[in-house]
Symmetry: C4
Subunit: 315 residues, 4 copies
């Protein structure tokens, strides 16, 4: 939809009011530096999101704990029903009996069913039949989540630690490099870069979408240098390092690509603060030609070397 | 496809004829207030849709009932074959025998197989072998649906209860706020707002697409105020509260976003009736700046305060 | 990509050479009336596609047959190893022994494992351990396909049996109606209609994309009448029923929508031959207004009534 | 985003610096001829990608080996705990005991659980309970990957071995043919063709996007001839076979389509070196008309016949 009200800045959903003071709005890892307060629990909670985004350690611990607790619960029920309704129980004490019930429960919930211990009588059988069904459903959720986490696309796009302002054609350009360190192919890679600066003598912030030399590539088998040429139309035109620092500039990068292994669209975000931009440096040349083809030295990704800026950009 | 016949209103698929009288066309929760009569059963039925969209309570009840009925069915078959073809059955009465057959069936369909009771002889074995295969297939459907429901993206976008007409720049604007109460990120959020009004002295309805200050944001970490500026091109230009009520106006909102947790596109719909629009009110400022960043007080989302409208809009 | 070579007709991938003579190119159900000859078997075969698109009857039969054959195979192996390596076998004859081996195999492959019969000794145990692992993998494929088939989106869009040429504004229009008979919502519904006609005195065919009154709707809760206005730019301008029949005209319809239940994009295709177009008829009005909202009578979807065509279209 | 800096060539993500010397940048099978050196292991590794893209043989071998090793591991633990804690073990030697433990482990990890051998006592039961849970989780990953690999869309688009430069209208055209050998439908098929040539007296390469007669088709039931008309705007204008060979030209083809069976977008890539282009040849006519419809002889896909080029293209 074309809008008569479209302005020269893109709204990142942060709003002109969303000044984070001196803190960054977007963290290096792509998470936001904002909080929503007083959201009612039932609206806020999203079990799937929580279970998919927690760490692997916590996830496995949660499954283990769940398995343990559910078995404790059913063992107690079998004790209530009476272990005499389980055949083959060998227990001298009631602790031994509880342990037998506990392990019988674990054999039931996993549908293992050795049968050394087995339920006899209606009540014990009802509990066992319910537990095995619950086990099938419960493990389906657990293993579905396990596989869902494992097969979740995560574009681990690597950004250079610093951006640079380097000479570009007869002017200068704001540049950084990105790389897909993995061997899976990213297709139709799109990038947008926005610059957020504080208004002078105000707490409000403005957002400017930066025009790029190239904002889309068909594939990205190597490193990609993203360039914003600082020409007369650029919001960075005439700015120098000191000004950008004073304005608390923050460059917000969003990338979007199709991941061929996962057959899904993936997103990546990062940001550069004014203090993470090196002025008058350019990125080192990292390509190498072998008889077998081209190679790129990823170790030298962040390497820069001094370069004299064209003066026109500051005129 | 550009069309020479494109008109200033967007068709929402409701049609100019689709006047619901005084009832709303789109309910608050995004469901439609329309019915299709006399659709043949076989064309209308969609098992997957029904099983995925029913309530969790009904879904779990259905699985439980299915499990019970299938076990009843197979228990009857084992009784027909004869319990003497099951080893280890301990039954004084034929009711006891049926119970043993029932629980043997449950141990077979879940592939639990304790073995205290086990089939012996060709016929009983054929039934058991079939039942265990059916169990694997049946539980695959049940657990697939369970996980499918659990992992189904549901954008729980929260809309303000009321929309407002508030001053905007040197004119007025139709505004409402939306928020993602959950912690998962929504990306590339798009919104469209249409106004449906009754034609004067007619039962027909016209649909107008409202131009928005901004119809797309890259991400939506905070609250987003959606604004339709009421300028001379707006169908609301010159309208006041009374007129909108007389025309039985209904604002239809559709949102679309990419949900990063679910790696899928999600949709959300809602509507505002003329009676749900507050004229001469503006939304309260809910942002707060902390040392750690920005926060927004969601409890105050719906809060409005009086604001004097610019008169130009009524001129 | 804008092309300097773009022409007024859209290529449907059928090509100008692809004249099917008097046969239709696209069948009513959306399948194509074309064949590819001499494709090497290994290039042609796509197990997943075959297993997903075969009928439910064949699919279930295939699973059953596979289950039977694999059990026959493993029963033979257990016989070779010797039934004396299975405990608990009760067999008077070697046929009985084979049956015991067969059912033991079925209990192993489903991981049922009653244990009345169990392997003893290295060789029998190796076979059983292999079989149970194969069973887990094999049933994972079978149940994955089962659920994949069940959850596969299939837009059962219903088209009117006939299209009509009816008066439209001050000219005429080519029209047909579509409906989603199910209760799941289709969003962002797009339609394209192409007309394929034979060149006069030639076997070649031309394809014309028809401009539509509206080619996209946001949602489609009711019936949608798709209209191609026959104005001076239309390839149907000046055509009458007889000409269209002589040119062996075929209208090719493709629809695309987002299915909210399945969270996926779905496609639908159909076609109207010249003989399936009623000239001088219009579709009956099928909307009804109740206190609760709008309803539409699907039974009367195909109903048409005579309507006098505007003459300008034939001038 | 429209860019003021957009140039006549599309960046394929290979960069002007990415000259592979005489080697091709893109292999016939769509893989890239580039390498990334010194990527830290933890950033490079993507288990899911590796497991999904390895060959079927290696994948099944890996599962088998994993199954074997895990059972070895648990058998050792049961030996440490002591086989006297497993009932029913029949072992003359400690090797026999280990084998019993090994097969007991296999019956536990697959949740088979015959029960001839069963754990007794707390320690053995803890190991068995843990193993069965691990088995459920581990097999969920293995079978999830198995099905994921099986259901992964792979557009096996077949390209002609050679491209041709053939007469096209009153000029010439660069042409090749593609075909979907399988019976599943590809929808909304898009193609882009780029020409990469070496700069004269330089190691750098330029990339030109070639304009196509048609870059998108709605469906592709038959063979599709992709044509780049060599008019005055073409980078190939005035080029002859010798020049293209000297410039080490490489045509890079990317295709994108929606696969109806898999309900997913699929991609395909290929390339033609200058030496794989036949000048002054045209593709043979392979369509056939039967009473039942059209058929195409795929065996003759690559067949070409001499054709006199129009001279204008070399003028």
């Amino acid at each position: 939809m074309a809008s008569r009200f479209k302005q020269t800045f893109s709204d990142l959903g942060l709003g002109t009011k969303a000044s984070a003071g001196s803190a960054r709005a977007l963290n290096k890892d792509g998470s936001f530096n904002v909080r929503k307060l007083n959201v009612p629990f039932l609206e806020r909670i999203n079990f799937f999101h929580s279970l998919v985004s927690m760490s692997w350690g916590n996830f496995l611990l949660l499954i283990l704990a769940g398995y343990f607790i559910v078995n404790l619960f059913f063992a107690s029920i079998y004790m209530l029903v009476g272990v005499e309704h389980l055949t083959g129980v060998e227990a001298g004490s009631s602790f031994d009996a509880f342990m037998e019930a506990f392990f019988f429960s674990s054999q039931t919930i996993t549908t293992l069913g050795y049968g050394r211990v087995a339920p006899i009588g209606t009540l014990a059988n009802i509990v066992a039949a319910s537990e095995s069904m619950m086990g099938l459903l419960g493990f389906a959720l657990a293993t579905g989540l396990l596989y869902g986490r494992f097969s979740k696309p995560n574009a681990k796009i690597k950004y250079t630690h610093h951006a640079v302002v380097a000479p570009y054609q007869d002017m200068n350009g704001f540049m950084f490099r990105v790389l897909n360190p993995q061997s899976n192919q990213l297709l139709e890679v799109e990038v947008t870069v926005s610059l957020s600066v504080k208004r002078k003598n105000s707490e409000l912030r403005d957002y400017f979408l930066l025009e790029l030399e190239r904002s889309k590539v068909v594939f990205m088998p190597l490193m990609w240098t993203i360039v914003h040429p600082i020409d007369a139309n650029s919001p960075m035109y005439g700015m120098d390092e000191k000004t950008l620092l004073e304005l608390e500039g923050e460059f917000i990068v969003t990338m979007k690509a199709y991941d061929e292994s996962f057959s899904q669209t993936v997103y990546s975000r990062s940001s550069y603060l004014a203090s993470e931009v090196k002025w008058g440096e350019k990125f080192a040349y990292v390509y190498q030609q072998d008889p077998e083809g081209i190679s790129v030295d990823v170790r030298r990704m962040d390497q820069t070397e001094p370069a004299t800026l064209n003066t026109r950009a500051r005129s």
